[in-house]
């Protein structure tokens, strides 16, 4: 019993060391990236605003005359943050190409925690200088329909998230 107990403990410790090393590597990487952002000497006068986006941009192939449905994993997320309290306004612009009747069903949401709290139905939303300095915008592709006479080649949904900084 005792040797087994020791072996298991060693295994646990080994796994824990790997986990902690992984975590430290991540923290180091994040720290090294943040350090590279801007030289403090150059930023005497200002605040900084950052947009980070993530998500799967390649939606695969859709057969003409069919609709392809996507699951909840197909979410594009924007994280908007600043180093100081500033008034910001977030806008979204969506176009698709080519203009051949292809239909992109999408759901836009936004919020201060996950990005799924509120619907983002209008094209623009104003956010006052809240104490929470980070905002999330999410866009989920629900389905794509390509008409049978749709153009061959690549179809694109062009999305632009715009952040206006107000004085």
């Amino acid at each position: 019993m005792i040797p087994n107990f020791n072996i298991l403990n060693r295994a646990n410790i080994r796994i824990a060391i790997i986990a902690i090393t992984g975590l430290l590597l991540f923290v180091f990487e994040a720290h090294s990236q943040s350090k590279k952002l801007f030289d403090d000497n150059e930023l005497q006068c200002g605040q900084q605003v950052t947009i980070v986006s993530s998500g799967n941009l390649d939606m695969g192939n859709v057969l003409k005359g069919t609709t392809t449905y996507y699951n909840d994993d197909n979410v594009i997320k924007f994280k908007i943050s600043s180093t100081e309290k500033i008034n910001i306004r977030i806008s979204k612009y969506v176009t698709s190409s080519p203009n051949d009747g292809t239909q992109w069903s999408q759901t836009w949401k936004m919020g201060e925690n996950t990005g799924f709290e509120n619907t983002f139905s209008h094209n623009r939303v104003s956010l006052k200088n809240s104490n929470n300095k980070t905002y999330y915008v999410t866009m989920q592709i629900n389905s794509i329909y390509v008409p049978s006479n749709g153009q061959s080649g690549e179809h694109k949904l062009n999305i632009t998230v715009s952040v206006e900084i107000d004085e």
Partner: protein, 284 residues
């Protein structure tokens, strides 16, 4: 005990894996600083920094456009880009140039964009401004699909940040004054908006801070906040509060407008003294 330890370690591993995956999933990121630029009168220039901390090239395009913070009929603010009368008087757009305007930032690199004044000798003393639009995204890949029965579908993601650049020519002081008119309220599901009719006199915009102290009928403070704001033209201006702080009843709203704004250097701020205003509202 052993199983419990193992479970904890597994949980930790899962968290680490999720964090690492989140890191890998990041596809684009751009930071810009500062968020407002002020042209230096001596060097007649100023600089902005765009940073690409990602592992791939990012395409960036800088453009200038005249615009200012305006308010709609409900007091909600927006950037007005189509006011030719204001543009004629205040636009810096014809007098400033950016370099470079279109470029690719290598991974982990930073680009300085320099803004330089041109042909300003005939401009009267005063304040001028423009908006800077910094649009970025991954470099577009060439399409390679020739599948006639199907099409390849992709999302093209772009990000834009709009900041401002200001230039104050000469030594003219900002003597703009604000008069506070009638206060009204409107509500939505979670917010109450105090909407003031603000009247601006003077050639400069008002850059300042609104300080609120709101008390109920018993004299107890229910809300207090500060909000920096700008006013380029007389307008209705809405200030947002949490609805949960305002049960039905009457409230006294004390407003102070002060000439402090963290974004602006002192020479841009109004020289006028603070404005005080007290009004009552009723929430039903």
């Amino acid at each position: 005990m052993q199983i419990s330890n193992l479970a904890k370690v597994k949980e930790l591993l899962t968290i680490v894996a999720l964090i690492l995956l989140t890191n890998v999933a990041v596809q684009a990121q751009v930071s810009i600083a500062p968020t407002a630029l002020f042209v230096d009168a001596d060097s007649r220039s100023c600089s902005m920094f765009v940073n690409n901390p990602t592992d791939h090239d990012v395409e960036v395009e800088i453009s200038l456009i005249f615009g200012y913070s305006a308010n709609d009929s409900t007091g909600k603010s927006y950037i007005e880009y189509n006011d030719s009368l204001m543009a004629e008087k205040y636009s810096l757009y014809p007098y400033i140039t950016a370099f470079p305007k279109k470029f690719i930032i290598k991974p982990k690199a930073q680009q300085t964009i320099r803004f330089v004044l041109k042909n300003t000798s005939k401009l009267p003393d005063g304040i001028y401004w423009s908006r800077i639009r910094t649009e970025s995204g991954k470099i577009q890949e060439q399409l390679d699909s020739q599948n006639v029965n199907g099409v390849s579908v992709k999302v093209n993601m772009r990000m834009a940040m709009v900041t401002a650049v200001f230039y104050k020519k000469g030594n003219t002081d900002n003597t703009t004054k604000i008069s506070v008119g009638q206060l009204s309220t409107r509500e939505d599901t979670s917010k109450i908006y105090l909407v003031y009719d603000l009247s601006k006199q003077g050639d400069f915009p008002f850059f300042g801070t609104a300080k609120f102290t709101i008390t109920n009928e018993s004299g107890k403070e229910v809300s207090a906040k500060e909000e920096s704001f700008s006013l380029y033209k007389s307008a209705l201006k809405a200030f947002e509060f949490e609805k949960k702080d305002f049960p039905a009843g009457k409230y006294k709203v004390e407003l102070k407008l002060i000439n402090e704004n963290k974004i602006f250097p002192k020479e841009y701020l109004p020289k006028t003294s603070e404005v005080k205003n007290t009004q009552q509202i009723e929430i039903k």
